[in-house]
């Protein structure tokens, strides 16, 4: 069989980190080859080297059995390598067409031959049965469509090798099916696909061969038919998998949070959300499912008072909190893990101690009689969080930005659970972090719930949502469309409700 990519003994070190150590991999032409591994296992670094964004320290790369020295994305493109990044490389305020043809012409002052490009792109789209309106602004596209634009973009540039970095992380199950269908079409047309993921089910569904990476090393490459999911997972994390214990306690019937007929409109009079009513009981995890932008984020923000509401009632521990400020709500026993830890949860240029105090500066523990901060208590507190949540950091005076994503998130979760809140609102608590940190956060959430904490959980990771929640409510277009028992629901079901296909 002809080899498309042959990477031999490649090594890459960043200051203090060995990102790739002596990695070799062979990808056959016309196959779908998956690389799996935890976050930080070195998959992305390997791909960046293949795509010319990062230069390897040593080792060699062969493309279609010719030695290649790839020092820029442009050269990679010329060699027939196209990459679809996890974060889409699309300019929102440009049209699909403009995004696709960007960079093809040298930057000269001549007319762009739009009509010519349009028909050529149409040909590519017909060949691989991909479809999209070329004149739409990228801003108006759905996530799946944006991804399709990315794929068309690299195919149009003549890519024979397609690298997809975590392509399913942002998609709902139906969109994943669509993507896989497209990938199979590509394969039938002779395109080699390199697929990076940490979702083993998907990898097993689509890939011909699977390579496993762990802490910068290539562990093994196996045929899909010869391997099971459990074997793969064990290769990936290097030890046998922990099994989540079934729930031992039961939820109580006491409602901690009660939301009634919540409604909010934006400036133009469009509904952001409307008719939202639900309850969170004591010692219960209530999951909220919804494709991003369907109002779930705003509802949660309304509960802690960031988002204004037009009508409705919010009752927390038998008290109406609608007219209270955000700080009062937080101090009355609500904790909040925002979805973006770097933008909302932490101040990245402050140290961990200060990040513990933020938002709690009025609590007695942190405030002296003179109105100054009691830093000592905060140091103690952050030390407690660091040890309880196994946060890897040199100390409490480290800047938040110096921590890895997983450790930042563990610190945030620890901080929010520290004050024994009555209600925890957790928005995407494990987004983009490694399996180890994820498992720890899950375990802590379960434990706190068993001890009586109520949790409102929003997650785009449907397996997490189903695994953790007791009940799940689904948001679609600003409305609460379905309530489900988490025990007997599949991701496919959920995806159906989330996209409005099922009612």
């Amino acid at each position: 069989m002809k080899s498309a990519i042959n990477i031999k003994n490649i090594t890459k070190t960043y200051p203090g980190v060995l990102a790739n150590s002596d990695v070799s991999i062979n990808v056959y032409s016309g196959h779908i080859h998956a690389i799996v591994g935890e976050n930080g296992a070195g998959k992305s670094t390997l791909m960046k080297m293949l795509y010319g964004m990062v230069k390897p320290d040593s080792g060699s790369i062969e493309i279609f059995e010719n030695k290649a020295n790839i020092s820029s994305p442009k050269e990679a493109i010329n060699l027939g390598i196209g990459m679809v990044h996890q974060h889409f490389m699309l300019a929102k305020n440009l049209t699909v067409l403009e995004n696709i043809i960007l960079g093809i012409d040298k930057p000269f002052l001549k007319n762009i031959k739009l009509a010519k490009y349009r028909s050529e792109i149409q040909k590519v789209m017909n060949l691989y049965s991909l479809n999209i309106d070329l004149d739409q602004y990228v801003d108006e596209l759905s996530v799946g469509e944006k991804q399709r634009v990315e794929i068309i973009k690299v195919l149009y540039r003549g890519a024979k090798i397609l690298i997809l970095d975590e392509p399913t992380a942002v998609l709902v199950p139906q969109e994943v099916d669509e993507l896989f269908k497209n990938l199979r079409d590509l394969k039938d047309n002779g395109v080699t696909v390199l697929f990076i993921s940490h979702k083993l089910d998907e990898v097993l569904e689509i890939a011909d061969e699977i390579s496993v990476m762990r802490s910068g090393q290539m562990i093994d490459t196996v045929l899909n038919s010869n391997v099971s999911k459990i074997q793969l997972a064990e290769m990936m994390i290097g030890k046998s998998l922990p099994v989540p214990p079934p729930r031992a306690t039961s939820t109580s019937e006491v409602a901690i949070l009660k939301v009634e007929n919540l409604k909010s409109q934006d400036e133009d009079g469009r509904n952001i959300f409307t008719d939202i009513s639900f309850e969170v009981n004591k010692s219960e995890i209530l999951g909220i499912a919804g494709v991003e932008g369907n109002g779930q984020k705003e509802v949660v923000e309304a509960i802690i008072g960031i988002q204004s509401i037009d009508s409705g009632k919010i009752t927390f521990m038998d008290q109406d909190i609608k007219n209270k400020g955000t700080r009062e709500r937080l101090e009355s026993g609500i904790s909040f893990i925002p979805e973006d830890r770097q933008l909302q949860a932490m101040i990245m240029d402050m140290n961990l101690t200060n990040n513990v105090i933020i938002g709690r500066q009025n609590i007695e523990k942190y405030k002296s009689n003179l109105g100054t901060m009691k830093t000592k208590n905060a140091v103690k507190e952050s030390e407690k969080v660091i040890s309880a949540f196994e946060v890897k950091t040199p100390g409490t005076s480290t800047l938040a930005t110096a921590l890895s994503g997983g450790n930042q998130q563990k610190f945030v979760v620890g901080r929010e659970l520290e004050d024994d809140p009555s209600l925890l609102i957790a928005s995407q608590p494990t987004r983009g972090i490694d399996i180890g940190a994820q498992a720890l956060i899950w375990e802590k959430l379960r434990k706190s719930r068993d001890e009586g904490l109520s949790v409102l959980l929003i997650s785009a990771d449907l397996e997490e949502l189903i695994g953790l929640s007791d009940r799940i409510i689904v948001f679609y277009q600003g409305k609460l469309v379905k309530e489900l028992d988490a025990k007997n629901v599949t991701p496919e079901d959920l995806g159906g409700y989330m996209t409005g296909l099922k009612k």
Partner: protein
């Protein structure tokens, strides 16, 4: 009532023009629509237009450029020096180079060294003022009619153009008819007012003005219909993505910011070469910043910038030529705000509607209770007009996505 609802964003901009024409029918305010006023308005708006276009090239590539003012100062000094040493057209070119040089400095600081764009821009403004004075002292040590704050007069001039037949321009030595001028003199409602506007454009207009006006369609072509323009715009939207497609992000930003400097320099040399004929300290008078405002007013579109700078130039021309006519502006603003009141009301933006109404009433009361505007205030007219229009028109400005964000090569997101 349906009228107000159908007043889409696009056409509301023409209401003030209509109002101006209506108010100009009153004798006291007739200066509002004469060809003289329009001619002056065009002359005064060109530096702002050029600065605005300059800002556009820079900001479309993602670099905030509040150094426009400083680059314009360089344009005035170098324009005057070039004009004094070599001649008018050479002066224009050298003024552009002077501005471009400072644009390049801004690019080096913000692109290569990732200095905060605002910090660099402020530095450029301060630096330019100092450099201009320094150069002026050195360059004209032994020259008559020069001081530390003014240069001697430039040689020659740019030349003016008047359209033959329509506006009475000459062909060779032969006089031709002034068709539009005669229509203006007839004093027919609406028609004569439009004739005034047209005549302002067609008679006695500097070649440099025509060149500047031509830059509007040229900019549209360059930025939206060439590969260079596409790459420049993409860099302001998503540099990391552009880089991954082989776009030279740094180069694009350098090009954008340097063009920005060159256009600001052109704006400065216009002030000298087509205006005073000498360099004077403080001559730019904040026009660089107004240019930035006109760019926002125009929502990052060349034609919009033309409208914005035209508005400022019109108000400026009015205060220069006829302080009484400025009084007429009060009622125009009042009625315009009233239109906005209804428009906001039907769009269910009650707060905005209420605010417009209050201001509308305030201007009406002022208009009714006075016969003229205090002199001090008259000078301020262009600025306040720009401010008012900007504050009510800024609803949907579409900024480039990654504007003001320093970009480091190889960095994803």
């Amino acid at each position: 009532m349906k009228i107000f609802r159908s007043l889409s964003k696009r056409y509301i901009i023409f209401t003030p023009i209509l109002l101006v024409i209506v108010v100009a029918q009153v004798e006291t305010y007739s200066q509002l629509t004469t060809s003289g006023t329009f001619g002056a308005a065009i002359r005064l708006s060109i530096p702002i237009l050029l600065a605005g276009l300059g800002g556009l090239y820079s900001e479309k590539t993602g670099v905030v450029n509040i150094g426009l003012e400083g680059m314009m100062i360089m344009g005035t000094w170098f324009g005057a020096w070039g004009g004094f040493t070599f001649g008018a057209w050479q002066g224009v070119f050298i003024g552009m180079l002077g501005g471009a040089l400072f644009g390049l400095i801004h690019a080096i600081a913000t692109v290569s060294f990732q200095v905060d764009h605002i910090v660099s821009g402020v530095a450029i403004n301060i630096l330019a003022a100092g450099v201009a004075r320094f150069l002026n002292v050195i360059a004209y040590q032994d020259v008559a009619f020069a001081s530390s704050t003014a240069s001697p007069r430039i040689q020659g001039d740019i030349g003016k153009f008047t359209m033959p037949f329509l506006a009475g321009g000459k062909i060779g030595e032969r006089e031709t008819s002034n068709f539009i001028g005669s229509i203006e003199d007839l004093d027919i409602i609406l028609i004569s007012d439009f004739a005034g506007l047209l005549l302002g454009f067609l008679s006695n207009i500097s070649y440099l003005t025509l060149f500047a006006l031509a830059l509007v369609p040229v900019s549209i072509l360059v930025l939206w219909f060439t590969p260079l323009g596409l790459q420049m715009r993409s860099v302001g939207e998503y540099p990391a993505g552009s880089e991954s497609l082989g776009v030279n992000v740094y180069l694009m930003k350098y090009i954008g910011v340097t063009i920005s400097g060159a256009l600001s320099g052109l704006a400065g040399s216009y002030l000298v070469v087509a205006g005073t004929g000498t360099y004077l300290e403080g001559q730019t008078g904040g026009r660089g910043f107004i240019g930035l405002a006109s760019m926002l007013f125009g929502n990052y579109k060349p034609f919009g910038i033309l409208m914005g700078s035209g508005l400022f130039g019109f108000a400026d021309a009015l205060q220069l030529r006829s302080p009484q006519a400025v009084h007429g502006l009060l009622i125009i603003i009042s009625i315009f705000l009233l239109v906005l009141t209804f428009k906001s009301f039907f769009e269910k933006k009650y707060k905005a509607s209420f605010a417009s109404f209050i201001f509308s009433a305030a201007f009406l009361i002022w208009f009714l209770n006075s016969t003229s505007i205090p002199n001090q205030f008259v000078y301020f007219t262009p600025h306040i007009t720009t401010l008012i229009v900007l504050s009510f028109a800024n609803q949907r400005i579409k900024l480039p996505e990654k504007i003001g964000v320093p970009y480091k090569k190889g960095e994803i997101n």
